[in-house]
């Protein structure tokens, strides 16, 4: 039945995939290896979901079910089931084509834009988005860029008619690009040296003043309204997480102190190239790290050749909660390689199931949506997929089915259609 559904979809040659309808029929996936996302595995699993929520997660050999307990049964023997992968700090849907300025809505001018909201610019039917789902990425945190305070991000699921329909959590966090302790000289044609940023203390002070002002404003009852300051409210009442983008050790230490001093309830580090050097502090303060693209170059000639590859392990070993993010060049189209970032972390020393957490449960925890998703757990959203093999390895990441909140979503894309069209042209199978 699912197969027919998808075939039906592929015959419609519109640009984007049609979002799936609300789950009406319950589904049972039998005999797959279930990667729970919390570090554990159930070899012969039974996974059931109804009305968008997981109702059953068990060892198939130890349970008995009535024949009609679920409307549809998928035999996934030899296959693997994973919770949907989550792409944090993402600009999916904010830019369609990198080089085409008119398709770019990722940043605003000005340095303090806490009132800016990414979600309203999110193009749910972006052609890029549909190409990330077939690799297992089913959710994303849509994040604005630029300035010092870029604005608020929101968390979406990736099969929706429009942004309202896509929302999982609106305005989940605010993004702050912490001043750098270094400064580049020269210009693009003649890069100079990277030297200490002499203005760093001043810039941090300015940031502190902004937050002090904001707090004072929020505590004042007889105030003249200031929408910019007002928009920081969530940071102080704990409804928004402050995502501090920082890579340098000193920046990270200062960022933690900064958040404490200003009474920020929840924070996370985004980037964190040198977070391993401040791991103890991060662990003690329960600060999670959304680690910058691990398929990246070491930032210094002397660094271990594989430092980015093993960075997640270094942090995990010290008890820091780590998720993976993928910002950087070609970041949107590269979102589909998120699973392989986790695979690399496994190649460089993490246990495979722990590596899986980097793009599922850990990310969900950092984003504050772990009650709802991130693991295959009864009561959580049925946002999950079936892969023919190990989804963290390119060779075997081949999805047969994917569900977002129980809805069987299309794994077709404009790319698969082009593939079919030209295979037909050349009589290829």
């Amino acid at each position: 039945m699912l197969a027919t559904l998808m075939l039906g979809a592929s015959t419609l040659l519109q640009a984007q995939q049609t979002p799936a309808n609300k789950q009406t029929k319950s589904v049972l996936i039998l005999n797959a290896t279930a990667h729970i996302g919390d570090g554990t595995v159930i070899e012969n699993s039974a996974i059931g979901f109804k009305d968008g929520k997981i109702t059953l997660i068990a060892d198939a050999r130890t349970i008995r079910l009535a024949a009609d307990a679920y409307d549809t049964t998928i035999n996934a023997e030899g296959k693997h089931v994973y919770p949907g992968f989550i792409a944090p700090n993402s600009t999916l849907g904010l830019v369609e084509i990198d080089a085409v300025k008119s398709s770019d809505d990722e940043s605003e001018i000005g340095s303090m834009n806490p009132n800016v909201r990414s979600i309203i610019a999110y193009t749910a039917d972006s052609k890029v988005i549909e190409t990330v789902r077939p690799n297992g990425i089913l959710m994303a945190q849509i994040t604005p860029r630029g300035g010092i305070i870029s604005g608020s991000s929101s968390i979406v699921q990736l099969d929706a008619w429009h942004w309202q329909d896509a929302l999982v959590k609106e305005n989940d966090g605010m993004h702050l690009n912490f001043p750098s302790t270094f400064r580049r000289s020269g210009w693009w044609a003649e890069p100079g040296a990277i030297e200490a940023n002499k203005d760093y203390p001043k810039q941090v002070n300015e940031l502190n003043s902004f937050f002090t002002n904001a707090k004072a404003y929020l505590g004042d009852t007889a105030k003249e309204r200031n929408l910019v300051l007002e928009s920081t409210k969530g940071l102080f009442d704990g409804t928004q997480t402050l995502y501090i983008h920082a890579n340098e050790e000193k920046q990270i230490i200062d960022a933690v102190q900064f958040a404490k001093q200003n009474g920020i309830k929840k924070m996370a580090i985004v980037g964190g190239y040198e977070a391993y050097k401040a791991a103890e502090l991060l662990q003690k303060n329960n600060v999670g790290v959304l680690l910058k693209r691990v398929h990246d170059m070491p930032e210094n000639d002397d660094h271990d050749v594989d430092l980015p590859y093993k960075n997640a392990r270094l942090l995990t070993e010290k008890g820091v909660l780590v998720g993976l993010e993928n910002s950087g060049s070609h970041e949107r189209m590269n979102t589909r390689n998120l699973p392989f970032l986790a695979g690399t972390c496994a190649a460089y020393g993490l246990d495979k199931e722990t590596a899986l957490q980097l793009i599922t449960s850990n990310t969900a925890k950092i984003l504050g949506i772990d009650e709802q998703c991130g693991t295959l757990t009864q009561g959580k959203d049925a946002t999950l997929f079936i892969s023919e093999g190990d989804a963290l390895d390119m060779r075997t990441n081949k999805l047969t089915n994917a569900f977002i909140q129980g809805r069987a979503i299309s794994l077709e894309t404009h790319q698969t259609r082009l593939n079919e069209r030209y295979k037909t042209k050349y009589n290829q199978k």
Partner: protein
């Protein structure tokens, strides 16, 4: 103060006598003298090795008359007794821009690019300024001359430091007294550099390889012009022709650039003196092999301030090390027999010259060689040995009088005579007033200790009950003056002592009190000055770190050699008809794969247990831009077929090591995609540690980069740029057709000339058309950056019209749409596994592209175009399995055998086959798996990467960094001046990188 003294001398003793003899003089009565001056009882260095003890130097009319021990002193002679002192020839710095104003940058209004020159009567490229003459831009700079004179220099060469061909340099005597004698030779040197003129907005050349190509073309054009072929006048070429016999000086600001300049010299039979940079020791073997003579600067880096660990962390080992090793450069050059002169170039202050040279001597450089490098060597390089650089009879009377050995830190330089004119550095007749005195001011008694240097004595005054009284002493022209501060520092009742010294045992004079009243003071010597031994100065310099190849982190301390290795029981991905063999042995011997099979043995081999591991041929990246110096694009012209990446391979890039760690052994370094006809490629093997030329694949087939689409039509270059043809895909076709037609005509003309036994006039050599003619003659192959179907078909049609075949389409993201046409044409494809959406033209790019083309029978490769991705190309290959169900065996060929085929090197590399090069990788797992890691990477039997050795390297890096940081902290503690910790920014090139110079 010194300046005032000098001015006095000038105005009193040197009345306007400084004009040519035949010039009218309206300012005074001419006062010409031709008496002799004799300097007696001196140690005279006629040359650095010809030394006269207790000798006499006799000069007249600005020249040396004689030097020896038994010199008759003429009657009309002034005699200067220099007992105990020494005389050295004044130094020569043949590389300065003394007296030449720095050219002003062009006003680049609106920053639009200028492609074609607006100059009239000169060469087509404005960076060729060979018509420029330093003597015409020269204005004697008295103040700057004093700085040189104080450092011991008597003669300097100067030139206009601007442009690639910079024109002639002139030789100047630093004669501050007689301007008629300052110009020694108007045109002595002819200058070149790898550096654009600041005065031009012309885009070409925008890269180092472009500069090299431009120089070559310039020399070809010169030859052609000299033969009278040109119908028009070209003053730049005429100047070059005229100045061919001058001393040719080439400025290179890096060791690798020295090698590059030497390469051009060799090609054209030229002899450049290379102005180096101070890092020659890092590639001394290659530097030595150039057989070039050098001009070497000694601007050693100041110690870095590493007291803040956060900042110190940013620093890279190569910079820390360079600080540590730079002072050894002169010793290393000298030990290797490289002939060089020294220059003050790049020094912040000329007065640092002596300090740094003394430092180099402390680091083992021979002091006689140092003197030669400042006197006889530069004189010989200039062909002026009879005039300057020695005190032989007839030479210019240019010499320095010192208190002792010239490069002893304690030695005082007294006078620097230039052309018989005295310039005082320190007063020769200064009395030594140092010692202990009983001081009486009026009725008050003090103890006075005068120490320090003779010319700069210091004062320590104490009361009789040993309380310190602050005082400051100045001693000039034998006048002593001292300000004595009151004991109570809150008071301002200073006392000033002043007195003329005629007797060094007793000093006396008058004291002026705070209220203006005067008293007498007197000091009676109670003890002579005793030199305290200053232990800090004798202390040895910091331990010097060994040089590695390259001299960066992960460099090798010695040249690596091929080993005989026997891999036992590996899973061998042969890429041959045998397929993937389980439990198989591979023997590597003499750089080749010697045998593949079961149960192999070789007594001389080191056995590697490869059970459970995978052995493959090395990864080949068809499209890479790493390890390139100064610009991947020569975008200054719409065709740059004359440039070649082979000129600019950067052997020092740490990315080479990272490639090896990712199992990559061979790459094609391509020109970028900024223009339709790009530059020639370099196919390289990543022999980490070797020199750039050794990395070049031997007898490599010729390749050239072409490009289509958005980049070449400047779609994403912003609004100021639509000035270069083409601006549309329509124009791109026309560029190709036009160039190929011209190349065809060019080729026809040359073939006609060659077949007529070279009768008549030879056609002009045009490196650009010559390269394109190679394509027509099927001696060079195109790798063309391409995206959309229309342009893909277009280029194949153009090629077919000119009867050749496009070899490779690189990127080729819409190849799947025209795979059948490509198959018909016979072109291969080197694509990305899954890139798209970064430009409008890649909107239809799909990850199924590679598999569709593969199934259509094309040779398909996956490339990187990216420094990071190229070290994970094995993972990219696996995406052909994921997206297109390509078999693992075939997918692996996408990054090994197939690119080898596309590059026409599959006879030597690309598979594991007996007789092929031992370019091999040992993986811990299936190489297509995300979990695979390279454990050993071999090229021609040499293990260039080994996971265990890598572990050791990491430890060694940490250790060496700590040691160097310790040394730097100690420097800072010693009070040496420091510079902030910093790191040079690195640019990673992609196809469309316009970051250049």
């Amino acid at each position: 103060m010194k300046k005032i003294v000098l001015l006095l001398i000038l105005s009193i003793f040197m009345p306007k006598s400084y004009a040519q003899e035949y010039f009218p003089n309206n300012e005074s009565i001419p006062n010409k003298t031709n008496h002799f001056t004799a300097f007696t009882n001196a140690t005279i260095y006629v040359t650095p090795t010809q030394i006269i003890q207790k000798g006499t130097l006799l000069i007249q009319n600005g020249k040396v008359v004689n030097a020896g021990t038994n010199i008759a002193i003429p009657k009309n002679c002034t005699t200067v007794d220099l007992n105990g002192k020494s005389i050295y020839p004044s130094f020569i710095d043949l590389y300065t821009s003394f007296g030449v104003e720095k050219p002003k940058p062009a006003a680049t209004a609106g920053r639009g690019s200028l492609y074609d020159t607006k100059r009239v009567g000169y060469y087509w490229n404005e960076n060729i300024k060979s018509e420029q003459n330093a003597y015409q831009a020269f204005k004697y700079d008295q103040a700057k001359a004093e700085e040189f004179l104080k450092a011991g220099f008597g003669v300097v060469g100067t030139h206009v430091p601007d442009g690639i061909a910079r024109g002639t340099g002139t030789l100047v005597a630093l004669n501050n007294f007689d301007n008629s004698k300052q110009l020694l030779t108007d045109k002595l040197t002819n200058h070149f550099a790898f550096s654009r003129s600041v005065t031009t907005a012309q885009s070409y050349p925008s890269s180092l390889m472009g500069m090299m190509a431009l120089m070559r073309q310039m020399y070809h054009d010169l030859d052609w012009y000299k033969k009278g072929n040109s119908k028009t006048t070209d003053l730049s070429l005429e100047a070059l022709a005229k100045n061919e016999k001058l001393v040719q000086v080439f400025t290179t600001e890096d060791k690798l650039n020295s090698l590059r300049a030497a390469k051009i010299a060799k090609e054209f039979g030229l002899n450049y003196i290379l102005k180096g940079s101070g890092n020659e020791f890092e590639r001394i073997e290659e530097i030595k092999q150039t057989n070039s003579k050098f001009i070497i600067p000694i601007n050693f880096p100041e110690a870095y301030d590493v007291s803040d660990p956060n900042q110190a962390n940013q620093m890279e080992l190569k910079d820390l090390r360079f600080w540590n090793q730079a002072p050894t450069n002169l010793k290393v050059l000298s030990d290797n027999g490289v002939v060089f002169a020294l220059t003050t170039d790049k020094l912040k202050k000329i007065e640092d010259f002596r300090t740094n040279l003394i430092k180099a001597i402390q680091y083992g450089f021979d002091s006689t060689k140092a003197l030669e490098a400042l006197t006889t060597v530069p004189a010989a390089l200039l062909g002026k040995s009879n005039e300057v650089g020695s005190l032989k009879n007839g030479s210019l009377a240019n010499f320095v009088i010192t208190s002792g050995a010239i490069f002893d830190a304690k030695t005082v330089m007294y006078e620097n005579w230039v052309q018989g004119n005295k310039f005082v550095i320190n007063d020769l007749n200064t009395k030594d007033i140092r010692g202990n005195y009983d001081l009486t001011i009026g009725n008050e008694k003090f103890k006075w200790k005068i120490n320090g240097e003779i010319n700069a004595p210091k004062s320590e005054i104490t009361t009789t009950d040993s309380k310190k009284v602050n005082s400051k002493l100045t001693f000039t022209n034998n006048w002593v003056s001292t300000v004595v501060k009151p004991l109570d520092s809150t008071k301002t009742n200073f006392t000033r002592l002043i007195g003329y010294v005629d007797n060094t045992d007793n000093l006396s004079g008058k004291a002026v009190l705070f209220d203006g009243s005067e008293l007498k003071w007197a000091a009676v010597k109670t003890a002579a000055f005793a030199k305290a031994i200053d232990s800090s100065k004798v202390e040895k310099g910091p331990a010097i770190m060994p040089v590695t190849y390259p001299n960066n982190a992960y460099g090798n301390t010695k040249k690596l050699t091929a080993t005989t290795l026997l891999f036992k029981n590996a899973t061998v991905w042969t890429n041959e008809k045998e397929g993937i063999l389980e439990e198989t042995d591979v023997l590597v011997k003499n750089g080749k794969i010697a045998a593949v099979g079961k149960n192999l043995s070789d007594a001389s081999a080191t056995v590697v247990d490869a059970k459970g591991k995978h052995l493959t041929s090395g990864i080949i990246d068809e499209h890479s831009h790493i390890a390139i110096s100064n610009g991947v694009n020569e975008g200054g012209h719409n065709s740059s077929a004359e440039v070649t990446i082979q000129d600019v391979v950067n052997s020092e890039d740490v990315n080479i090591y990272r490639e090896l760690a990712g199992g990559v052994t061979t790459s094609q370094l391509l020109h970028g995609s900024a223009n339709p006809i790009g530059g020639r490629s370099a196919i390289v093997k990543w022999k980490w540690g070797a020199a750039a030329d050794e990395m070049l694949y031997k007898n490599q087939p010729g390749f050239i980069k072409f490009a289509l689409g958005e980049n070449v039509k400047q779609s994403n270059w912003g609004n100021v740029n639509p000035t270069r043809f083409p601006q549309s895909r329509m124009g791109v076709e026309q560029v190709f057709t036009d160039y190929f037609q011209r190349a065809k005509d060019y080729d026809t003309a040359w073939k006609a000339y060659n077949s007529s036994n070279k009768k008549g006039k030879a056609p002009r050599v045009d490196l650009e058309l010559q390269t394109l003619a190679e394509i027509l003659n099927k001696e060079r192959f195109i790798s063309c950056h391409s995206y959309v179907q229309s342009e893909i078909l277009m280029l194949m049609k153009v090629a077919e019209k000119f009867n050749f075949r496009v070899n490779t389409y690189t990127h080729i993201l819409e190849g799947y749409k025209v795979a059948d046409k490509m198959k018909e044409h016979g072109v291969g494809a080197s694509t990305f596994s899954d890139w798209w959406a970064y430009k409008f033209e890649v909107n239809d790019a799909i990850p199924f592209n590679g598999p569709i083309m593969h199934n259509a029978g094309l040779v398909v490769a996956y490339n990187s175009d990216d420094a990071e991705m190229s070290r994970r190309l094995n993972q990219e290959a696996a995406k052909a399995v994921k997206y297109g169900n390509v078999s693992e065996e075939d997918a692996w060929k996408f990054v090994t055998l197939n690119p080898a085929k596309l590059l026409h090197i599959d006879d030597k590399v690309g598979s594991i086959k007996t007789g092929k090069d031992a370019d091999i990788v040992l993986w811990n797992a299936n190489p297509l798996s995300i979990y695979a890691k390279a454990e050993k990477t071999l090229i021609e039997g040499v293990v260039y990467y080994d996971v265990q050795k890598d572990e050791e390297q990491r430890k060694a890096i940490t250790k060496e960094r700590s040691e160097l940081i310790g040394q730097l902290l100690q420097e800072k503690n010693k009070g040496m001046s420091t510079q902030p910790a910093k790191k040079k920014e690195k640019v990673e090139y992609h196809c469309d990188s316009l970051e250049e110079l």
